[in-house]
């Protein structure tokens, strides 16, 4: 592997360039017309214009990206996160074009992207799953299924994807009301009234396990990230270790993630997501088959550079360390800073950065593509910076987080820095007692 094309933009493109540089691999940036002056373009060894601002013409356009890789003489493609990173078809097309895909095999992306198939693999690997129907059920079978699963239940169109049209029933009467409407909507939208039912876990925590797998059969985990602090299902900050896991649960969750990755034929970096319920039991929900936004949290507490490991694994190297080489050290928190106005219902706030003061000092890391004078374009995700802090324990990490957020000044646009400062003051967060509905309950979401 000599030259890697990064099929992405923003801070993650900069992150991959950094890993390439440390491994003495050349980097190729791609950019849309809206990103000509972006930091990843300035920092890469080579750069290629891939067309119009709207992502579907550029960052979401497989043909243009593969052509750019070939034209630039790249021998590998790193997809980053988002965009085409979990698109099995793109992975396959890269492979067919004799480009190394820095990620798992297309088959593993496909398998984990199919909810029913992923649950089946998990169950076979003895990984606990959220109780639900195995595949689709006819509307009239929903009641028996709900009795078996236990209320409250979530129901959605079996043919649909994403979070669209999810309904909740707390008992049989509510289910009666829901089923008719849900079945009608499912038939209207997908031509199929079949439904999928799953137990609704009330105020769960979202905890995920980072795994690394090489192409020689070695699979290890790098412990967990706690991602329960969310607003409208979007993660706002993440931390490791999770304040909610006791050592026994941590080990069994991590072992379950390793079993799943093995059973799925997984290679490269991946994340296995679990919901932790009030009784301390955990349930597999999905696997993210890419590097994640919050990966620096794990890097801070394990000392492993996950993006460099991704590149090494893709080049066919063996993992340089076994499970015994991984230990958790201290505590880390990542704050996702977005160009949104927390005082105006998180309204998007693109525009020019007129002034920038960067936090620093002990235990502070900033992953960003911002620079003074840069204009944040309106076309892409609102994430503009990730501030990651490390401390010898959670208390020190929180104190450092507050100190670094106070040092961080971004002028010209609205950002979520003040919102993070507010969260750090909340007693529930301080105690580590929070779940996915915490901000909603506080009416902060």
């Amino acid at each position: 592997m000599r030259r890697v094309l990064i099929a992405n933009r923003g801070e993650v493109a900069v992150r991959v360039i950094r890993a390439c540089r440390e491994l003495e691999i050349e980097s190729v940036a791609v950019y849309s017309q809206a990103d000509e002056s972006a930091l990843h373009v300035r920092q890469a060894d080579h750069s290629i214009n891939i067309g119009k601002a709207a992502a579907r013409f550029s960052y979401l356009n497989p043909a243009v990206l593969i052509e750019a890789a070939q034209r630039s003489g790249a021998d590998a493609v790193h997809p980053g996160y988002g965009f085409l990173s979990e698109n099995a078809e793109f992975a396959r097309r890269c492979h067919d074009a004799e480009l190394i895909w820095v990620g798992p095999p297309a088959e593993a992306i496909e398998l984990m992207g199919d909810k029913a198939a992923a649950r089946k693999v998990a169950a076979q690997a003895d990984v606990p799953i959220v109780p639900g129907t195995e595949g689709a059920v006819a509307p009239e079978q929903a009641f028996a299924a709900a009795e078996r699963i236990g209320y409250p239940v979530m129901l959605k169109a079996a043919a649909g994807g994403g979070g669209k049209g999810i309904r909740v029933a707390r008992d049989g009467d509510e289910l009666k009301d829901c089923v008719t409407v849900a079945a009608r909507e499912a038939r209207a939208a997908f031509g199929d009234s079949a439904l999928y039912l799953e137990k609704l876990l009330v105020t769960p925590r979202h905890v995920e396990i980072q795994v690394l797998a090489d192409t020689h059969g070695n699979v290890i985990h790098l412990y967990e990230r706690e991602c329960s602090l969310q607003r409208r299902r979007q993660k706002l900050l993440e931390e490791s270790p999770s304040p909610a896991l006791d050592p026994g649960t941590r080990e069994s969750m991590a072992a379950a993630a390793v079993r799943l990755a093995g059973a799925a034929g997984y290679t490269n970096a991946g994340t296995v997501e679990f919901l932790l319920d009030g009784t301390g039991a955990f349930h597999f929900i999905e696997m993210n088959t890419r590097i994640q936004v919050e990966h620096p949290v794990t890097e801070m507490v394990t000392g492993v550079d996950l993006v460099k490991e991704q590149l090494r694994i893709a080049a066919g190297e063996r993992l340089a360390f076994g499970q015994e080489g991984i230990s958790l050290h201290g505590a880390a928190i990542e704050f996702r800073i977005t160009a949104e106005d927390p005082d105006a219902d998180f309204h998007p706030s693109p525009g020019q950065i007129t002034g920038l003061e960067i936090p620093g000092g002990p235990g502070v890391r900033l992953d960003t593509a911002l620079y003074a004078g840069y204009t944040v374009p309106p076309f892409y995700d609102s994430l503009i910076a990730k501030l990651i802090v490390w401390g010898r324990d959670r208390q020190e990490a929180i104190a450092r987080g507050r100190r670094a957020l106070e040092e961080f000044a971004i002028d010209g646009i609205d950002t979520t820095i003040p919102f993070h400062l507010q969260i750090l003051e909340h007693p529930g967060f301080r105690r580590g007692e929070y779940h996915t509905e915490y901000l909603t309950d506080l009416a902060l979401g």
Partner: protein
């Protein structure tokens, strides 16, 4: 008399229909009232409605579907 226009409320990508398979919200010759939705602007992966502030007949659009627009840019001319 000077023409009235419908302006983009935000910068981003302009769409004339709610999804690629849907009909346009309005076409040339349609009458609109204040508050009628004439398009969408996508900004940072969220969609915002573009509404007419005046009554009138849509004479012509000044931008194409999926064009990049600036905040305050004229999108369509209203006559009548």
């Amino acid at each position: 008399m000077s023409d009235k226009t419908i302006k983009a409320p935000l910068p981003g990508t302009f769409y004339r229909q709610s999804d690629p398979n849907a009909d346009p919200f309005v076409t040339e010759g349609d009458e609109v009232k204040p508050g009628d939705v004439v398009g969408l602007v996508e900004i940072m992966k969220s969609f915002h409605e573009v509404k007419s502030e005046d009554s009138g007949v849509v004479e012509r659009f000044l931008v194409e579907n999926e064009d990049t627009v600036e905040a305050g840019q004229d999108l369509a001319v209203l006559g009548g």
